[in-house]
Point group: C2
Chain length 143, copies 2
């Protein structure tokens, strides 16, 4: 058996997971401690805050989240009074979800935190590295 160069750290699914894990911890601490939110909750909040009101289904598609996950996150956020849903009259299965005033405040805070957290991470890279990294990740998600 010949000397083999393929290392675990070079295996993309593994390396991506490790990097995702490493970078998530810091931000997670923030939304968990300050707002008692879970990862999926944060994502749902962010989607609504960033892209405006939409249905749960739309969030599933955008965020690649399973409908049960979204369902639970929406409920949790409703309990926290960060979002509210109004049923659509032309199709009563659908609810248009939107952030409450309080929800928008929380979003604004998390948004700013995310932004500076990201900026701090970006400092480890050159402009070019950052571009390549973004491009690669984008490609991978679309596979």
């Amino acid at each position: 058996m010949t000397e083999d160069e393929f290392d675990l750290d070079r295996f993309l699914p593994y390396a991506l997971n490790q990097a995702a894990e490493a970078t998530s911890v810091g931000f997670q601490k923030f939304y968990r401690q300050r707002y008692g939110m879970l990862r999926t909750e944060w994502r749902v909040l962010f989607h609504l805050g960033r892209y405006g009101e939409m249905t749960a289904k739309a969030i599933c598609g955008r965020a690649s989240l399973h409908k049960t996950k979204v369902s639970r996150a929406v409920n949790a956020l409703e309990q926290k009074r960060y979002l509210s849903g109004t049923p659509q009259q032309q199709d009563r299965r659908l609810e248009t979800l939107s952030l409450t005033r309080q929800g928008r405040v929380v979003y604004a805070d998390l948004y700013q935190t995310a932004k500076s957290y990201d900026a701090a991470l970006a400092e480890n890279f050159t402009e070019q590295e950052r571009e390549v990294l973004n491009r690669c990740l984008e490609k991978l998600v679309k596979l």
Copy 2:
């Protein structure tokens, strides 16, 4: 409020998670269906197969896995007869873990699969992109 360029897909922890998720699915299918293994189990197996026998503690360190996770994975792999542990006599808290013959067969199979899976992913990138990507991920893990 001015037009704002900071997008969720550009938020590194999020983008990394999405990419990790997207690339993991295919490989996961393999080790789950063929060997009934969980993610942590696969990782532990891979560590032992790639880097030789070591203690659970060493795996924790190398793989950044919590000891409870490793403990459970080791038990599961022992049940499947993929690994066995022999206690060290100078410190009986420690067990040297190593793959069984069967474990090495499974490792070899998964290793080859991982390798070609990774090669397939790599085809989406130029040599240079690939290099930058690896370098960036490595940096992020070490933060």
